[in-house]
């Protein structure tokens, strides 16, 4: 069963990113940073890894004069996240009822 756990989600930050993106449309960098409580650099490297896997899509644009980068989960990413959650759930021993 352990094999069904996705290695990409071993990091808490990556799993956290996917959790936030699972329930939101475009979320920007600063919101993610605030929600996850990580540094810019740390977040950027995890996001790059998820982008590499095609789990997230990136949108860069200007809001007023400030550059704004936001992220959204891809279908692949959402599926992988869901499968990973189900795998975690199976690891929890069922209470004897």
């Amino acid at each position: 069963m352990i094999e069904q756990l996705n290695k990409a989600f071993e990091s808490r930050v990556r799993l956290g990113i996917m959790a936030v993106l699972a329930v939101n449309d475009w979320v920007d960098h600063s919101q993610l940073k605030e929600l996850l409580g990580v540094t810019d650099g740390n977040l950027a490297s995890h996001l790059a890894a998820l982008e590499e896997l095609k789990y997230v899509q990136v949108r860069k644009r200007f809001v007023g004069k400030r550059p704004n980068t936001s992220y959204k989960s891809t279908v692949t990413g959402a599926k992988a996240f869901k499968a990973h959650l189900e795998a975690i759930e199976r690891l929890i021993p069922k209470p004897n009822s």
């Binding site: 071993e10 808490r12 956290g16 919101q31 959650l85 929890i92």
Partner: protein, 218 residues
């Protein structure tokens, strides 16, 4: 290979999903100011009604010619009063929430705020139109309970996108609205309790629970 306790892991994920969808900058002081304004407005309305009814202060009953004649005179005054209360309360609520979102560094108009507004505004606008219709059909006694009921439904509906206290505020408004429906003569009193006292109570509760500690650190 690092494997955390799976149930802790799940709790962490759920917490994140929740925090990222809810609008948590809503300031309790918004509720307190809205409550104070509502109490002021209700007192003003009471004053106008008393003045129009003098000397007998309990004559605003339904189905009587005198009640209807009185009401026609009062209608514009009361609608203006209600409109003013709504405007000042919204302005105050917006200001405190804006201040809090600045303090916490959150966006005032992010996806969670939009979701909250949409879920709040749909039942609320329908309620507003409904109440105006009641006014114009000469059924003012139903307006106070109707505002409480529609406001309660709007809060209950929107509460899944913000602080939990909003759900309880919604439930309280609904109960009060239902009681008020069967006690029309005390409509203004119920309205003052629902929009004044309950707002101050839940607003104060939200402030004490979520903001006071945080402001000390800021």
């Amino acid at each position: 290979m690092q494997h955390n306790d799976p149930s802790q892991e799940l709790a962490h994920i759920r917490g994140l999903m929740e925090r990222s969808t809810r609008f948590l900058s809503l300031s309790g002081l918004s509720g307190v100011i809205a409550g104070v304004v509502a109490l002021g407005g209700a007192t003003l309305a009471r004053f106008h009604i008393n003045e129009a009814l003098a000397p007998d202060t309990d004559a605003l009953t339904y189905g009587t010619a005198r009640g209807e004649a009185l009401f026609t005179d009062l209608r514009m005054t009361l609608i203006t009063d209600a409109g003013l209360v709504l405007f000042v309360a919204l302005l105050g609520a917006f200001w405190f929430t804006w201040r809090r979102s600045r303090k916490t560094g959150q966006y005032l108009w992010d996806a969670s705020a939009r979701r909250l507004m949409l879920n709040m505004l749909v039942p609320l606008s329908v309620g507003g139109i409904f109440c105006l219709a009641l006014f114009f059909y000469g059924l003012p006694g139903l307006v106070a309970p109707a505002t409480l009921v529609f406001y309660g439904l709007a809060l209950f509906n929107a509460s899944k996108y913000t602080l939990d206290e909003i759900r309880w505020l919604g439930v309280s408004e609904l109960l009060l609205g239902i009681v008020a429906l069967f006690w029309l003569e005390a409509g203004l009193l119920f309205w003052a309790i629902g929009f004044g006292v309950l707002h101050i109570f839940y607003g104060g509760l939200m402030y004490l629970r979520h903001e006071r500690g945080a402001e000390d650190n800021a």
